[in-house]
């Protein structure tokens, strides 16, 4: 088993490739790593020179990279499909909540005025390779971009052999059977598809004395409230799993295998998992 770990897209990435060590494995892992770097360069809101940052600054891109166009299209479809629970226009709300730099650079306790909610649901127009945002609309593609990157990298790495690609909890497999820990005491063996987890158990901080986390409820423009701590979803792609996990965390019914962890410590298996 070949393993490589590195940091990309603001999280730890782990690549597992089930082939003999050698040049093929090394080249496949190198290629996978460089793909993550490419996606980060394209889709990160924390890199001032990324295409996404340029789109957020200028409100329009006429010759956007096809991957950016594709991810924005997927995000729009996800917003439609989840009735707005998943929304890529939460950028200003996340920033207003205090998540305005990479999580590693954020102070655990921010002082200053209490954050105020920001409006979500702005308009996005995609026409060919042109992306146009409505006035005041900015995109945060964080989760869905990570899921998309995981799917694409799994395709690349899967050409070399059975593999698992895990970017901070969003993971996809190609070939083989992979035991994946969900909570302590619960392991799912995934032999096809992807898993993603969304929750408020990580990426938390305090702002003006209030507990904040990164999952914004687009209907309020503030970090989501509720009695769930996290939702883990199994789907056919990491992109879908990411979207569905977020939607389920915000109360949507999902018809795929999923695991809910509640604030009182219960773990609920649903969607055909037993």
């Amino acid at each position: 088993m070949q393993r490589r770990a590195f940091t990309a897209m603001g999280t730890e990435v782990e690549l597992l490739l089930d082939i003999e060590p050698g040049e093929i494995a090394e080249r496949a892992l190198d290629r996978a790593e460089s793909e993550f770097e490419r996606f980060e360069q394209l889709l990160s809101r924390f890199r001032a020179d990324s295409e996404l940052s340029r789109l957020n600054r200028e409100g329009r891109l006429d010759d956007a990279d096809p991957d950016l166009v594709h991810v924005v299209g997927l995000a729009l479809a996800a917003r439609e499909r989840t009735g707005g629970r998943f929304d890529p226009t939460v950028h200003d709300a996340v920033v207003a909540a205090g998540y305005d730099r990479t999580f590693d650079e954020m102070p655990a306790d921010r002082t200053g005025p209490a954050p105020s909610p920001a409006a979500c649901g702005g308009s996005i127009r995609v026409d060919g390779r042109t992306i146009e945002l409505g006035p005041g609309t900015r995109l945060d593609l964080g989760g869905i971009a990570k899921g998309y990157a995981v799917d694409r990298v799994a395709e690349v790495l899967g050409l070399a052999g059975p593999c698992l690609v895990n970017a901070g909890g969003d993971l996809a497999v190609r070939g083989g059977a992979w035991p994946v820990g969900v909570t302590s005491g619960l392991t799912l063996e995934l032999s096809k598809g992807a898993i993603a987890t969304s929750g408020r158990d990580r990426r938390r901080w305090r702002s003006a004395g209030a507990e904040m986390h990164h999952l914004i409820d687009p209907s309020t423009g503030s970090p989501a409230a509720g009695d769930l701590v996290s939702v883990t979803v199994v789907a056919d792609s990491a992109t879908d799993a990411e979207v569905l996990a977020k939607a389920a965390f915000l109360g949507a019914e999902v018809d795929v295998p999923h695991v809910l962890v509640t604030a009182d410590g219960r773990t609920v298996l649903a969607g055909g998992l037993a």
């Binding site: 999280t11 782990e14 597992l16 989760g143 990570k146 698992l164 895990n166 970017a167 901070g168 909890g169 969003d170 993971l171 992979w178 035991p179 994946v180 820990g181 969900v182 619960l186 392991t187 799912l188 063996e189 995934l190 032999s191 096809k192 598809g193 992807a194 898993i195 993603a196 987890t197 969304s198 929750g199 408020r200 158990d201 990580r202 990426r203 996290s230 883990t232 199994v234 789907a235 056919d236 990411e242 795929v256 295998p257 298996l269 998992l273 037993a274």
Partner: protein
Amino acid sequence: MTDTSHRTYAVAIALVVFFLTWAAVAAKPWATPKQDPRLATLAQREARLRADAQLVQQVVDQRLAAYRIALKARKAQIASSQARSLQVAQAAAAPAVRVVNLPPLTITRTS
């Protein structure tokens, strides 16, 4: 008017009457017009072509009806094949997961 003048007029009138009569007789208004054999051939050919066209139309109608039946059957076949493919694709795309008692190779967590 002299006798000579009278005679000249009479001769001229006689000549006119003669030529008119000649022209009328030469036209043979009593004779039935003789049919051009080429016209007859043309008419026969037209009739034959009409008959052929009717035959061809019948054959085309029959073939079109058969084609429509075959097309309907083929469309049904394609629809059923597409439905089967969709089922297979959905089954292939569906994630395969089960709960196991194994040590995990990796973990998922809030990303």
